[in-house]
């Protein structure tokens, strides 16, 4: 193997390398710390040049240098060494410098020494999310940090998930955290175009001390994304990375009938008239021998993921830059859903000779093309759309063949499915009908278009100037710009096209294009004072001013009647004023005006909204002897959203006690880190309803008889203001045995006051049954635990490193105050209970004597009458009580095995997909679960399926399908091999090489009876499941 590698790489060498580097020699060696442990990631730079290398995981390096040049070895926290090149091997032992420990990225402050952080912040290292074939930044956080709960509603490439930090903090307002990329707040929903490989780290800001600085946008927590930057003095580094993966469907946790079962069931068991009724056993056998379709096999495909990425970073004494370019392509597990994206990122940082003036720019440009199929969450879908491919594995009739006689896929349907008339012509109504679901879904996925082209740019420029002793002034300007072009085509030749714009129109099909533009600007200026007043006392204080402005515009059209020869082109549109005369009501054979129909009138739309936020805020921090610290933040926000209450003030105070630095701890060797943190503060949430929620609007538009009509917009309470979250946090950061065991334990209690919720009104008195107002209170109380243990650490004598880690969150949510006691029907928000709790009539199984469905009445007694008034709170909640993740990183020499499991527990969802295949009312035209074969037939029979004579029970199911949606999932497992740098040095071109195989979402353990328990929807209704992915890739460093 080794020879082979050298052989291949020698080829490279022959081609390029010798010519370029012939005059130099290779210097290699190992960089270790003062105890002899290798230092991975140390920098080796040729003095006075941009050329440099970093050491590998064993501390090894190799670099091309001329005799007489000087190499500078440096590592964070260690004193640099300069050594003149005199031989081919230079081993260096660096001495520990001033104790520079791990850093934490905080809001507005950049990186600070973790020991001096008094707030609750979880950091996710970028290396753990790199090269994971999940395309949406938010979803990557699942299981990665304590208190961060991520759920995606669809496995479709390009769909984003929902993130909750420490539970649901709002009832009607925004519940998701604010995302800030390199200082620029960005849209929460459009992450598909960001390249996660560009991320250096993610900081999840959880408590008030961390988030109060974001004022009225910080109550849901904040996720600060820091992207990779070149390191000053690191020289030139080039990296190429690639990944190839395949995605397959997850395990099916329900079973539907096969052809023979279904036809026999229709004939023998199901009341009423169905296709199977008149068939003999022989006929059934013949039909099912010929056709026994498992529609899962037809609709699921193997999706692929492909990524190529090139990144270049440079660092000289005063400037550094990082540039990356990525191409990423992901195909979904069903046809017609895929994502392609190009992303470009550049960070540039520079400073003046004196280092007093620093400046930086960041720029991300992304372009993605995303094709969607009809799924359960897209564009307000419910999942019940007949062209949703994921409905078909459930209800597709097994006796229908998906193939034409010539073996190709049948995209139209059959006579049996209602799509064809007896003479073989297509029946537009039948083709769009229930029985034809399977073919309709195939047809839509193949012939129709639902595509989003997204262009996203996030950029900023910032500078600061240390203009006087202890004083720094600075500022930044940033923009987050998203442009989405949506193209939806119902092709004239498709089944949906048959009835678009109408069944009788002569021309068919429609094309809709929507242009959406969202621009967010942020300008910020600050003045910072920093002074070590005495040896023991240091003070930092900053004053900021900030202005945010967002503008969102969209416009679009829908045109009808497409020329099939000009797909996607405006030249193919039928003129809007084309009249047709399908009927001749007076029978005179002439087109009369009263029979005139306009089928092709295009639809047009345009809208715009804006919001502005102006803020002044200040922070101060005092440190005494590195043992005690106090931080305080205050922010005054003014928003355009609440014209009557524009101003809000938010604040926090936090203290820390670094117990490990106390003198009395110097004797306690076992404890290396011990820090107590306490914080309290008030943060806000202004994201509720529309951007004009504080103004009573009147909508104008085409109304009765298409004349302009005025209608009151949503009734508002003009006195509304932001929701305020009062957050208390106490935490302990600890490290034992030289930080082999390290972790953070936090207890928090967050009480959100003035929550936006429904203030109940009398419809009879006011015309409205509710108005959104600041009327509710809710609390989240919980514990975050994050822990890691280095079982084995790599050393000069031990090639093994074994590390295990876990994080978890327990969160108890309670609605403390809600006018009217509750809102909602079966999924309720109710006072004294967690938000989103199920309230239903309890299903009590089947009466063995007569097969009748049984319920529990409100007193818990058995009854055979379904009465909605018997509904009770089930103590089952949609939001999970426990979330978290755990895993292990094991490495031996060049091999590393990393794994991450994520879990969600104590969460309940309504499984409406299963309710459909156990609804015998539909069994005439929809396949059924095999469980239906256990339906009650004889007195005394104990079964959980009622007698079929009671028909479809879906309206009276009660809590029958509210299922435990807890799960444990092997989220990611990676095995990688990093090639020894001693081998690579022979190539003279590669300085690092890593090869890996990876599995994502490989195994899921759950009681949920469907494809995928995970969702941000309380009801599962034919969702697009998250796929299992296997991938292979390598990283090359030059």
């Amino acid at each position: 193997m080794r020879t082979k590698f050298s052989g291949i790489l020698t080829l490279f060498l022959a081609l390029f390398v010798q010519i370029l580097f012939a005059q130099q020699q290779t210097v290699s060696g190992t960089v270790t710390d003062d105890t002899g442990l290798p230092l991975p990631g140390a920098t080796v730079l040729i003095e006075g040049t941009n050329t440099g290398k970093t050491t590998d995981f064993d501390g090894n390096y190799s670099i091309k240098a001329n005799n007489g040049q000087t190499l500078v070895f440096s590592y964070v926290g260690f004193t640099s060494q300069k050594i003149k090149v005199t031989s081919a091997t230079i081993n260096v032992q660096l001495k520990q410098g001033e104790a520079l420990e791990a850093v934490t990225i905080v809001a507005y402050g950049g990186a600070v020494n973790s020991a001096k952080v008094a707030s609750a912040i979880a950091t996710v290292d970028g290396s753990t999310i790199e090269q994971v074939p999940i395309n949406s930044l938010d979803q990557i956080l699942q299981g990665a940090a304590a208190g961060v709960s991520v759920n995606t509603g669809s496995g479709q490439p390009g769909q984003s998930g929902t993130i909750l930090i420490r539970g649901r903090g709002s009832l009607q307002g925004d519940i998701e955290p604010l995302f800030v990329i390199d200082g620029v707040p960005v849209d929460q929903d459009n992450f598909r175009s960001l390249n996660q490989n560009d991320i250096e780290s993610l900081s999840v800001l959880k408590d008030a001390a961390a988030t109060a600085i974001y004022g009225n946008r910080g109550s849901g927590g904040v996720v600060i994304v820091t992207t990779k930057k070149g390191k000053k003095g690191s020289g030139l580094n080039i990296q190429y990375r690639t990944l190839y993966g395949v995605a397959v469907k997850p395990k099916t946790r329900f079973e539907v009938m096969n052809a023979s079962q279904f036809l026999t069931f229709q004939r023998d068991l199901l009341p009423g008239n169905q296709f199977g009724d008149s068939l003999s056993d022989t006929q059934i056998a013949a039909i099912s021998a010929q056709t026994n379709t498992n529609w899962s096999d037809i609709f699921f495909q193997q999706g692929t993921t492909l990524s190529h990425e090139l990144s270049i970073s440079t660092g000289s004494e005063n400037t550094s830059s990082y540039t990356s370019l990525q191409y990423y392509k992901q195909e979904g597990i069903t046809l017609g859903s895929d994502l392609k994206r190009f992303s470009f990122r550049n960070n540039f940082n520079g400073s003046s000779e004196s280092k007093k003036f620093n400046y930086g720019t960041t720029l991300t440009l992304n372009y993605s093309v995303n094709n969607f199929i009809v799924d359960a969450t897209r564009g307000g879908n419910t999942g019940g759309q007949l062209d949703n491919p994921f409905i078909v594995p459930y209800i597709g009739l097994p006796y229908l063949s998906p193939y034409n006689p010539d073996g190709s896929l049948n995209l139209v349907g059959t006579q049996g499915s209602g799509a064809l008339n007896a003479d073989g012509t297509v029946n537009a109504s039948g083709a769009n009908g229930f029985v034809n679901t399977a073919f309709l879904a195939l047809n839509t996925a193949r012939l129709n278009t639902d595509q989003e082209n997204e262009f996203k740019a996030v950029g900023s420029i910032s500078a600061d100037y240390n203009f006087a002793k202890n004083l720094t002034a600075g500022g930044s300007v940033g923009i987050d710009y998203t442009n989405i072009e949506l193209l939806q085509i119902t092709a004239p030749g498709s089944i949906r096209g048959l009835i678009t714009p109408s069944q009788a129109s002569e021309e068919k099909g429609s094309q809709s294009e929507t242009f959406f533009r969202d621009a967010n600007f942020i300008a910020n200026a600050f003045l910072r004072y920093q002074n070590d007043i005495t040896e023991d006392l240091s003070v930092t204080a900053s004053l900021y001013g900030e202005y945010n402005y967002s503008n969102t515009q969209s416009a679009g059209f829908t045109a009808f009647g497409l020329n099939p020869a000009l797909p996607g082109s405006g030249s193919g549109f039928t003129a809007g004023n084309t009249a047709e005369f399908p009927a001749d009501s007076n029978g005179d054979g002439v087109d009369d005006p009263e029979d005139q129909v306009f089928n092709y009138i295009p639809g047009v739309a345009s809208s715009e909204s804006e919001i502005a936020l102006a803020s002044v805020f200040a922070t101060a921090a005092i440190d005494y002897q590195g043992k005690y610290g106090i931080e305080a933040t205050i922010r005054r926000d003014q928003t355009s959203r609440f014209p009557k209450n524009p101003t809000g003030t938010f604040w926090s105070v936090a203290g820390r006690w670094n117990i490990d630095n106390e003198d009395f701890m110097s004797e306690v060797d076992v404890i290396s880190t011990l820090k107590l943190r306490v914080s309290y503060g008030v943060v806000g949430n202004q994201n509720v309803g529309s951007r004009y929620q504080g103004l009573q609007t009147v909508n104008a538009g085409p109304s009765y008889q298409l004349g302009t009509g005025y209608n009151l917009g949503t009734l508002v309470d003009e006195n509304i203001k932001w929701e305020t979250a009062n957050k208390f946090n106490v935490g302990l950061s600890f490290g034992l045995w030289n930080n082999r065991l390290s972790g953070e334990l936090d207890y928090y209690r967050e009480v959100t006051k003035d929550l936006f919720s429904q203030k109940l009104l009398s419809v009879a008195g006011t015309g409205y049954n509710q108005v959104t107002a600041n009327v509710a209170d809710m609390s989240n109380t919980g514990v975050d635990l994050q822990i890691a243990y280095d079982i084995l650490r790599k050393s000069a004598t031990n090639p093994w490193s074994v590390k295990i880690f876990a994080n978890g969150n327990y969160n108890k949510n309670e609605v403390e105050r809600l006018p009217g006691g509750f809102t909602g029907n079966t999924l309720r928000v109710a006072e004294g209970r967690p938000a989103n709790t199920w309230h239903q009539v309890r299903w009590a199984g089947v009466d063995p004597s007569n097969g009748q469905p049984l319920y529990l009445d409100i007193n818990g007694d058995i009854t055979n009458v379904f009465n909605p008034d018997d509904a009770v709170y089930l103590d089952k909640n949609f939001d999970p009580t426990y979330t978290g993740g755990f895993g292990a990183d094991i490495s031996y020499k060049g091999f590393t095995l990393s794994s991450l499991f994520s879990f969600v527990a104590d969460r309940y969802r309504q499984n409406s997909s299963l309710a459909i295949v156990e609804d015998v009312g539909l069994a005439g035209f929809a396949n059924q679960s095999t469980t239906i074969l256990n339906a009650w037939t004889t007195p005394g029979q104990v079964t959980d399926i009622p007698s079929l004579s009671f028909g479809g029970l879906r309206a009276v199911d009660g809590d029958r399908y509210i299922e435990d949606a807890s799960f444990l999932r092997l989220r990611n497992v990676t095995l990688s091999y990093t090639v020894d740098s001693k081998i690579l040095e022979k190539t003279n071109i590669l300085s690092g090489m890593r090869i890996f195989v990876q599995g994502t979402n490989l195994v899921t353990w759950t009681k949920w009876r469907g494809f995928d328990p995970e969702s941000n929807q309380s009801t599962g209704f034919f969702d697009y499941p998250v796929p299992r992915t296997f991938s292979l890739g390598f990283d090359l460093n030059f």
Partner: protein, 474 residues
């Protein structure tokens, strides 16, 4: 030290960045209520918006759907995938049972009240007075119409003036928690609004798509009949019968198929392309035309050959001979214009004939001959040839005959449930479905004593409003 001069500059800059005058942002796509109503033409826009907010036959809160599906005029359709199962199963509870009718009607009433409030702030010029008055008249007329709807469905006993009625909403409020008035008080308010409307309505207003003087007369007749004031019902009916004539068979067909004839229409909600409430989608799927609700076999059997109502109500796509029979409801066909655009004919002359028939039969000194003559007039028009209906001999017989005729004439127009409710105590009949129309666990009857003949006050109202009284049985 001179560098410190930068500090004041920077601080000024900090506050400049957070300047306040950037914070006044007004919506681009909508008006603000305070300034929305400036002229009579704004009021007219408000009126159109308010009318548009009334249910026009399809969608949520469609009483056409409720009256048909809850009763015996429909059965589950061949393509039903769960649609309207609650109504078929006669589930009527305070959570969702009223189909949103209460909220829909009161919201529409509120819209009219807001137009009236806007009008109060405007003094019309001389040339605008007529237009201004018409807006007011329309608002009062529709307010009466909508309140009568609410009263009909939510009051337990329309014939008892001291029974609980509903709240009569005639002011704009965002904090009112009203109690229920009595039926008699409601009737007075309705009458007041109609009187005001009649006094303000210009005689030139004859557009059948809006309220007119005839609309007011019609509503008076209907209100009077439901509340037992039979002489008023008869006098108003007489007035309309003298100025309109019943549609002949061709006109009847054209009235429902393409909305091209309005001979006997007194008022209809206009549905047009681009603003259509899709009445047909109460029973068939958008686009495909598949049935999730079909005509009941019982009702189908009642349409005899020669009756134009058979061809109007039974869509040509039907196949009565199939097993099970396919009976597509044809009253709101794709029609000549193919786009399922059908007006909601809310007031037709035939109803007036049947109102007068019933009033004659129920008045203090019943005139059964006049009653049967009015029924016969309708039948004659529908058959296109003189029909004979023997004079009734008792109230029971008269009501049985009128109820049957109303079923045929007014099916799928939002009357069946109300008729069953109003006649149930005379005939001692609840809802009886034919066995073929209630297969598969769907209930076959609703007893005459059921509370479900009155809608429950929605739970949302009860929860919000401590002064509201729930109807008995809920």
């Amino acid at each position: 030290m001179k560098k410190y001069f930068l500090i004041p500059i920077i601080i000024t800059l900090l506050f400049a960045v957070s300047c306040d005058d950037q914070l006044e942002r007004f919506p681009v796509d909508s008006l603000v209520e305070e300034t929305a109503y400036q002229s009579v033409s704004d009021l007219e826009a408000g009126l159109r918006g308010a009318i548009n907010s009334i249910n026009r036959g399809g969608g949520t809160a469609s009483l056409i759907a409720f009256n048909s599906i809850f009763t015996d005029n429909t059965r589950i359709g061949g393509n039903n995938g769960g649609q309207q199962l609650n109504l078929l199963n006669q589930i009527l509870n305070s959570q969702t049972g009223d189909q949103g009718t209460w909220a829909d009607r009161y919201n529409a009433i509120n819209n009219f009240n807001r137009v009236l409030a806007g009008a109060a702030a405007i003094t019309p010029g001389a040339s605008e007075t007529s237009a201004y008055n018409e807006v007011l008249a329309q608002c009062y007329a529709f307010r009466a119409y909508l309140h009568h709807d609410v009263l009909t469905y939510y009051s337990e006993d329309l014939l008892n003036g001291s029974a609980l009625g509903v709240h009569y909403q005639n002011t704009v409020s965002t904090s009112d928690f009203p109690a229920r008035a009595t039926v008699a008080e409601n009737l007075t308010e309705i009458d007041n609004d109609l009187t005001l409307a009649a006094s303000l309505m210009p005689s030139s207003s004859t557009d059948k798509n809006f309220a007119t003087q005839d609309f007011i007369t019609f509503l008076r007749a209907r209100v009077a009949l439901y509340s037992g004031d039979y002489t008023t019902a008869i006098s108003n009916a007489n007035s309309l019968i003298s100025s309109y004539s019943l549609a002949n068979q061709a006109q009847y067909t054209a009235m429902f198929n393409g909305d091209t004839d309005t001979t006997e229409v007194i008022f209809k909600f206009d549905n047009v392309q681009g603003n259509n409430s899709n009445i047909a989608f109460n029973w068939i799927f958008t686009g495909t035309g598949g049935n999730f609700i079909e005509m009941s076999t019982e009702l189908f059997g009642l349409f005899t050959t020669g009756d134009v109502r058979r061809t109007v109500n039974v869509d040509p796509a039907s196949d009565p001979g199939a097993n099970p029979p396919l009976l597509t409801i044809g009253k709101y066909p794709a029609g000549a214009d193919t786009n399922y655009i059908n007006d909601y004919k809310a007031m037709r002359l035939s109803e007036i004939y049947l109102i007068r028939a019933e009033a004659h039969a129920r008045k203090a000194a019943p005139d059964f001959a006049a009653a049967s003559a009015d029924v016969n007039a309708v039948r004659t028009a529908r058959f296109g040839s003189p029909q004979t209906t023997a004079a009734y001999t008792s109230l029971n017989e008269a009501i049985t005959g009128i109820k049957a005729e109303r079923r045929l004439e007014l099916c799928y127009e939002g009357f069946r449930f109300v008729d069953l409710k109003r006649y149930r105590n005379i005939l001692n009949q609840g809802i009886e479905r034919d066995a073929s129309d209630c297969a598969g666990g769907i209930p076959c009857s609703l007893p005459v004593s059921s509370e479900k003949f009155t809608f429950p006050i929605p739970q949302a109202e009860i929860n919000a409003n401590p002064n509201m009284t729930q109807n008995s049985g809920y």
